[in-house]
Symmetry: C2
Subunit: 621 residues, 2 copies
Amino acid sequence: MDTAELIELGQQLRVDSVRASAAAGSGHPTSSMSAADLMAVLLAHHLHYDFDRPEAPSNDRFVLSKGHASPLLYSAYKAAGAIGDDELLTFREFGSRLEGHPTPRRLPWVETATGSLGQGLPVGVGIALAGKRLGPHDGAVPRVWVLCGDSELAEGSVWEAAEHAGHEHLDNLTAIVDVNRLGQRGPTRHGHDLDAYARRFQAFDWHTVKVDGHDVDAVDRALGEAESTRGRPTVILARTLKGRGVASVQDREGLHGKPLPHADEAIEELGGVRDLRVRVQAPPTVRSLHSVPDGHLDLPRWEPGDSAEEVATRDAYGQALAALGTARPDVVALDGEVSDSTRAEYFAKEHPDRFFECYIAEQQLVAAAVGMAASGWVPYASTFAAFLTRAHDFVRMAAVSGAGINVIGSHAGVAIGQDGPSQMGLEDLAMFRAVHGSTVLYPCDANQTAQLVGAMAGLDGVRYLRTSRGAGPVIYGPGEKFPIGGSKVLRSSDGDRLTLVAAGVTVQEALRAAEALAGEGIRVRVIDLYSVKPVDRATLRLAAEETGCLLTVEDHHPEGGLGDAVLDAFTDGRPVPRLARLAVRTMPGSASPEQQLHAAGIDAESIAASARLLVETAIVP
Amino acid sequence: MDTAELIELGQQLRVDSVRASAAAGSGHPTSSMSAADLMAVLLAHHLHYDFDRPEAPSNDRFVLSKGHASPLLYSAYKAAGAIGDDELLTFREFGSRLEGHPTPRRLPWVETATGSLGQGLPVGVGIALAGKRLGPHDGAVPRVWVLCGDSELAEGSVWEAAEHAGHEHLDNLTAIVDVNRLGQRGPTRHGHDLDAYARRFQAFDWHTVKVDGHDVDAVDRALGEAESTRGRPTVILARTLKGRGVASVQDREGLHGKPLPHADEAIEELGGVRDLRVRVQAPPTVRSLHSVPDGHLDLPRWEPGDSAEEVATRDAYGQALAALGTARPDVVALDGEVSDSTRAEYFAKEHPDRFFECYIAEQQLVAAAVGMAASGWVPYASTFAAFLTRAHDFVRMAAVSGAGINVIGSHAGVAIGQDGPSQMGLEDLAMFRAVHGSTVLYPCDANQTAQLVGAMAGLDGVRYLRTSRGAGPVIYGPGEKFPIGGSKVLRSSDGDRLTLVAAGVTVQEALRAAEALAGEGIRVRVIDLYSVKPVDRATLRLAAEETGCLLTVEDHHPEGGLGDAVLDAFTDGRPVPRLARLAVRTMPGSASPEQQLHAAGIDAESIAASARLLVETAIVP
C-alpha cells in the first residue's frame, strides 16, 4: 500500500471502531483510534500471518496488550477478511465472538486473553522465547508483535518482561507502545514524554525507536527497523492522540471507555465508511513443531513400606518431570530461581534446552508458561506455593484464555517449619480452586506425585500441583493409579464411626491418628483426597453416610481449601451428616515442622483428640 | 566510630549472624555476611532511631527487604542494645520473637513483614510518601532506609516502587542494594555489574551511588550522599561478597539458606565473638501525628423505597469515604488509576492532600497502603476487584505484618455486563477469605455500604469491601446498623420451607425470587449475608433448622466464596440440613448485566426454579 492507502486504512479502522462501539453502546473507541495508524501499517506491510491457518507455527504472533482496544482489533480482522461487517457489529453482544476484551477461547487469531493490563508483553515474551529457543528450527523464527498502551507501563509485570526479553536478546519481539497520553482517569505519569519511556527500555537493553504514531511512513520505517534489529528486542514508542481524527474527542479527558457521543458525525468527520481489504503477507511454510513422536513414559518408582527411604513429594516431582521430559519432547519447564528447592533442577539437568530460568519474577514465570502453551508446548512452571500468589492475576487470565498450563507450588503449609509464614503457602488451594476450569492436586507420597505429574500433561485448563518440603513415607505402590477426581480410601471397616479426610502432609497424620484411635477401640476411616478439584463426591458422600461424620484436616487456612472442597459433595440438596474441620487457624511463627503441625492442631494427636470428641460426645472440636 | 571500629562492628554482626544460625540449625548467614558492613555503618552513623520508643513519628524507618537476612537484623538489634545475646540465640525457636523472617507482629522495631522478596521497597515507598506528604509537618521528615537484595530486583514490584518514588521525588527514601551476585539457585542475571542496576534506577529518575560494600568509609560517604541528595530518591549499589569474611563460603554457590558448615572455625576466622555496643543517634522530638481530634461522622443517607433513586454501592462507597475523611483526619485514600470507576474520586476531590494516585500498579497500591498503616494512617485502597488479584502476595504479607488496611474491590462479578471476564472479580471473595484475620464485606445497598465503610476503619487486619458497578434499590433505612459478623433476615415467616442466602447483587434477585415463590404459595426466607467473614453462624444455623434447607446464591465462582463461607456455620459436628448453591460456574462472555445474571443462573428466575425443585422434589438444583 502507498502512503495514501495506509492513511485510508487507518481511517477505516477508526470508522469501524466507532461503528462497532456505537452498535454495542459501550467499548473503547478513543483508545482504538489512537493506535489505528500503527495497526494499519503493521497489518498491511509487516505482519506475516495466514488467517486461514492460525495454528501455523510460522505465523507471526500479534498480541493486543491494551485489550480494551478490541474494536481496533476486530476492525483489523475485518480489513484482513477474517470476519465480515455483520459480525463486527455484533461487538459485545451476548453470544458474539467479539467480546469486550479479546480471548482465544472465542477467536482463533487471538494468542492470549487480555484486558488485565500489563499482561500482553509478558505473555509475548513467552511466545518469543519459545519461538527463538525451541523452534521452528529452520531459521524462520516468527516475529511477535505486542501493541501496548502507555498507562499499562506502570505495571511491574511490564518491567519483568522488559528485563527478561533484554536478557534473552529476543530480537524477534517488538513492542509497540501507543503513547496517547491519557489513561482511564486522566493523564499518565509521563504524558507525551517519549524520552521517559525510551530511557527505561534502553536501561533494560532494548532498542528504542521514537515515532509520530500518526505518520504512516515513519511508522513503516520504525517497524522495518524493528525487523532488522539483531540481538535486542525493539520498542517503538509512538506519540499518538487518543480519539485521533474526531475533534470533539481528540486528546480530551473523560472519554475513556465510552462510545463517541455523535457517532454519525464522527464517521463523517473521518471520511465515512470504507471497505478496504488488506492482503496480509503469508508466512513461510515450515514443518510443524513437535514432529518427534512421544516416547514411552518411564516414571520413577519407589517401593512402599516402613523400611523404605522417605521421599519428599517435591523430589518426586522433579524426578517425574525429568522422566516426562524424556518421554514427551513437547514438555518444557520454567522456574522462579528456586529450582534447587522445587526440584525442577532435575529436569533442567536432563533437558537444559527446554528449561527456562525466570528468576524471581513470578508474573513473568506464569506469563511465559501461558505464552509457551499458546505456542503448542506443555509448560510446567514452579516456585514456592506462597509466591504463586504473586501471579494470581496471570493465573486468572490464563483461565480466561483457556490456556493449558501446569503450575507447581512447593513448600506448602506450616510443615515447612522454621522459615515462617512468609514462605508458607496457606492460601494456595483457595486461590487455585477458585480459578475457572482448574484442577487442583495435592499428593501425599512419591508414587502418587509421579503419576499425577504424568496425568496433568493431558488435562485442559490450569492444573495446580501442591508439593511438600519434607520427606515422608512411601504409601502407595509404584503401579497404583490415581484418577483425576478420585480419592483413595486408605483405611476402612464396617464399624467406622468417623471419616478423616486428609491430603498431602496430613494423610500420614490422619493414618497415625486412626491407628491410635483403633487402639482405643474407635475405628475411623481415612480418605486421601489427593484430587482437591474436581472432588470425589461419591466416595465422600458414601463415607459420610456410612460413618456419620466427616473430619477434614488440612495444612492450609480454613477458607477455600480442603474443607471447603469437601462441601462440594454435600451441596446437592440432600441431608448432610455431621461435618467438622481442622485447619491452620493461627498465624504461625518459626518452629520445627512437628511443632508447627501440633501448634496448628493438625497433627496426629490433635486429630485423634478431635475425633474422640466427635465420636463420643458430638461436641464441637 | 572510626574506621577500625566500624570494621569491628561489621565483623561482630557477621559473627552473631553465624552464631544465631548455628544455634537455630537453619537460616541465612551468608546473605547476612554480605550486608554486614552496610548495616554497621548505617547503624552507627546514619540511622536516627529510638529503640525505646519505636512508635515515635520522628524515628527513621528501616526495612529489611531481603528478609531472609534476619540474622543480620537481629545482630544489629543486639549491637544497639535492643535485645540481649540470650535472645539472639533463640533465633527460629518455637515461641521466639526472632522468626526466620522479621515481622512487626512480634518485634516493635520491624516496620513490615518481609520474606516475600520485592516487597520491602514498595512498602518503604508508602512509608516515605506518608512521611513526606502527610507529616510530621515541622520539616523533620524521617528518612526511610530499605536494604534490598540484588536477586529481588527481578520482581516487577521493585520497578513499580522505583517509578512511584522517582515520580514523587521521594528524597527521604534510600534503597541500599546488597549486590552479592548470588541468588538462591545461583548467579543473578547481572552478577556484579553495578552499572546494569545503575542504568535502570537512573532511568526511573533515581540518584545512584556505586560503592564497594565492604569499604566502610566509602559506604559512610555514600549514605551521607543519600542524606544530602534533594529532589530524588537515592539507591546505593554496593558490591559485596556473599559469605564475606569466611573463605570456605565466601562468594561460593550452593550455600544459600544454610548455616555455616563449621561455625566455630568461621567465628575464629572472623576474629571471634565481640560485644561492641552502638549508640544509635536519637531522632529529633516532634509532636505526634493525628493531633487533630476526630470529628463527628456524618455519613451520607439514602431513603429506601420503590420511589427512591437507585444507587450503586460503589457510589455509596465514594461518598461515605469522603464523609469519613472529613470526620477522621487519619484516613487516607489510594487508587489504581480508576478512581472515576471506584468512586474514590469523591474523596480525592474533598481531601486532595490525603489522596494518593498509584496509577496502574496494584502491588504498589497495596504496598503503599501497608506503609501508610505502618505510619499510623488508616488507608482505603481501591481498584477493580479483578485487579486486586495482582496484589495477592502483598495482601497475604499484610496479614503476616498484622497491618490494618482497607481494600475495596469494585466492579465485582458478572453483573458488570459487557466488559467481559477479564474485568469481573469472580475470585476475590475466595482470595480475601483465605487471608488470615481478614474481614470480608459485601454490601447490597447504599446505606449498608456507608455504614460498613465507617465500621471498617476500626477493625484489625485486612478488611475487604466488595462493591458493585450497577445501581440498585435502597433496601435499608439510613439509621440501620450492620454489625461485623452479622446478617439481615430480609424476609421470613413461620411457614418458610427454604432459606435463600445472598449478598450484594444477588440480594435483590433473591427478594424477587421469594416474591414470585410466595405467589405460588411457597414461602422462603431471605438472608442478606453482608458479612461474608466472619459469618453469622447463629442466624444461618437457625434458618437451616427452621426451614430445612439453605440455597446460597453468589456472583462469584463456586469455590471459596459465599457458599463456602456458609459452610462455616455447619462444621461444628452437628447434623446439617440440606444445602445447595448457585454460583457462576461458566466462563462468562460479553452480555448485558441482566443476561449475565441469567446465563450464570443466579438471577431471580433461576433462583426460583432451583428453590421449587428443592422444596417440592428435593432434587439436585
